[in-house]
Amino acid sequence: MDKKPYRKVGLTLEEYDRIVDTLGRHPNNLELNLYGVMWSEHCSYKNSKPVLRMFPTSGDRVLQGPGENAGIVDIGDGLAVVMKIESHNHPSAVEPYQGAATGAGGIIRDIFTMGARPVALLNSLRFGELDNQRTKYLFENVVAGIGGYGNCIGIPTVGGEIYFNDCYRGNPLVNAMCVGIIKHKDIKRGTAAGAGNAVMIVGAPTGRDGMGGASFASAELNEESQENRSAVQVGDPFMEKLLLEACLELFETDCVIGVQDLGAAGLTSASSETASRGGSGMDIDVSLVPRRETGMMPVEVMISESQERMLVIVKKGREEEVTGIFEKWGLHSAVIGRVTDDGMLTIRENEEVVGRVPARSLADEAPVYYRDYRKPGYLEKANSLDIQRIEIPEDMNQVLVRLLLSPSIASKEWVYRQYDHMVMTNTAVLPGSDAAVLRIRGTDKAIALTTDCNSRYCYLDPGVGGATAVAEAARNLVCSGARPLAVTDGLNFGNPEKPEVFWQFRQAVSGMSEACRVLDTPVISGNVSFYNETDTDAVFPTPIVGMVGLIENTDNITTQAFRDEGDIIVLLGENAEEIGGSEYLKVVHGMEKGRAPRLDLEAEKRLQDCCLELIESGVVKSAHDCSEGGIAVALAESCISGKLGAQVEFETCDRKDALLFGEAQSRILVTVEKNGLERLKSTAAGFDVPVMTLGQVKGETLRITVAGITEIELFVKDMEINWREAVKCIME
């Protein structure tokens, strides 16, 4: 077995040599560990950096792009939205409750570190199929962990998405997103400057949990991973609630130079990153760090990922004010060192210097890799689909019911009932519609939030799939009445050292970047999670898009629910019959094949602008994106949410199944009053958006007629029971 010291901390010989070059000597064990965690993929983005440069990251509204703890986008009135998404995949695979809970805890800290009050949590989850106890256990406990943390700290979990596919069986994905609101003038940054200023650690005491979590996140999962539970942190949401309130109270003073949470790589990253950003150094004494365990070595204190801790850089002479505030909230605070001007991170244990390295070299000078990439061989076979050989089912009612029962489409009520989605009393649109909507207190505005990614499209074509994730997220926001503003991305892929995986990564980022450019939604923060593999499988490329949009007036808030009997149902956008990559193909024919649905970004942009115009001018009464399950499922969902039936007619089609269940992009289902139809048509014509009148809201059933034949007729009540109870039935 290869047990060279640098291998033990996850580094290569070349990386070790680079450290020796930087220091002009061999690093000691402590120093080597610092490089191990800081130069891990998780902290350094060494494999992804060159590719991430493709993302558009600036725009009129961007106040803070990538590189800080979270991104910030302006929403007017001197207010801004702070947001970020982060993965906690590997911890959740071995310890689902704590893995998911601390994922939420970590991302919440990233938001209030910027000075913002967190107002919402979202998540994006992927599991294997729910046909085995292990997957059910993971699903149940991840949901409980997210709820346990968010409910206790009192931040509503307002939205998210969940898909089930066997590619995630061994390596589930747990991405958590947090959103905060801040006044422009209150924005804080993670920087340490001014020699002599105090370096304080506040919040929970430090223990041995989460040792080397950053490195654990940067390797594939295998049998040994299950024994690596000590790399998983343990969350204490009550402690974080106190830390949150104490920090926000502290930020109202002018004591603070900079602040950063202790996340991955703990004190090591917080100290070296703040120093590096401030162009300064730092001299800290680990013996001054409050602890909850005895006998901890300096290296353990430096790399511990104990939760609910923050590093605060405080103006010299103001330390006692800080201590006073934290004491009020019953929390530890301790001065552990000073900012210096020598650029070095000096670590002492009492008087003795136990490590001394350039702060920049840890935070910003990790090697950057330009990985090889190669189009994967599987694509040719996966993309070839002979549609003639797919039998068209006889009974379309049965197909629709099977789709409504599919856990990826069925209601996620069983999940979001376990999350407090109303606390803070801002949630104007509850989970279950296209996007969650929160009012902004003290204004007429609201924000809409969503997470999105169809990873099957990404598997079939990562470029188109990546672009579609962005387009669909934006479309969801538009359907709720919001103008999309900005993106936070959660990029989940396999092992980047494999050229086929890296090709997927490059393609996906390239597709997302193009969509972000066309839709004018810059990327303001994000996270990369590689090595989502087990011994046998890699996950589908899963670039999750978290997006925020602005609703100028709460009167414009729109949902998917049909509103009134007699309203006309209209499809905005081109009604192409596409069957590739659909949930229908998977559920009914057991295939995940074909081409990902085509995406014309210019047409998408026109569609979204048109829909928003129709909502803002009060013409449209409901709006719903057509996505998984196609137009039939979209109609069913609007019926169920509105508790109203619909009668819909199609004159003709090539294939009934493709018409009803195909997932062609850039389509929005809207309703208007009869006398609004002409106005809708003229507005759509102005945007060059095709319009198709489908029928009207009517009765107690959803009836869909194709070429004069009734293909679907189901009671809304029956559809609702199937759709609402499916996940619950599987889990109970």
Binding site: D236, D420, M422
Partner: protein, 235 residues
Amino acid sequence: MKFGVVIFPGSNCVTDCYYALRDVFGQDTEYIWHRTKDLKYFDCIMLPGGFSYGDYLRCGAIARFSPVMDSIMEFAESGKPVIGICNGFQVLTEAGLLPGVLLRNKDMKFVCDNVHLKVENNKTPYTNLCAGGQVLKVPVAHGDGNYYVDDDTLSEMEKTGQVVFRYSDAYGQITDTANPNGSLGNIAGVCNRKGNVLGMMPHPERCVERLLGGEDGSIIFRSIINYLKGGAVNG
């Protein structure tokens, strides 16, 4: 007329109650820090929801020993209105101001949803503007809302009108399916014998604005204000 909203470490519906009282109902409202002892300026005290002290022990069991609690006991003794919502209800039962206990939900899961409540007693300071048997749609959000009390106390409470709210369907029928947590007799809210101390698991402060999907909670706030103004009480 002054309202106070108590902040225990870990209370998380503090601002929700504060905004409802101040912004929606225009009442003079102040926060009360858990170390405060002097409550003489207040006319009504609200114990909000949340996870006081993390609720790692039994819910409300530690908050009950907060310095402010002695003063709240005195405040309640004097007959002034004290309302505990969700965690606040749990604290009031732990403190012995209200009968019964709140156990883990029957299915062991946290539940956040809109439920219906039937007003069983409309002669309290909290329900005096309600019609008898009126049904309100109010959200719940809790993991430990399964109300339990021994049989003797329960029959006593039934007699004296201490059961104020029960979970019901939209038509006021008390059914098992309308019960979100397994509470004995579908009990959602109770008061003390005098009627001045109320505890309820549902969150009326979450449904006082149409924008947030409902206003049925308003009647509870308006009833309190009516009571404090010396307005007519039913019966």
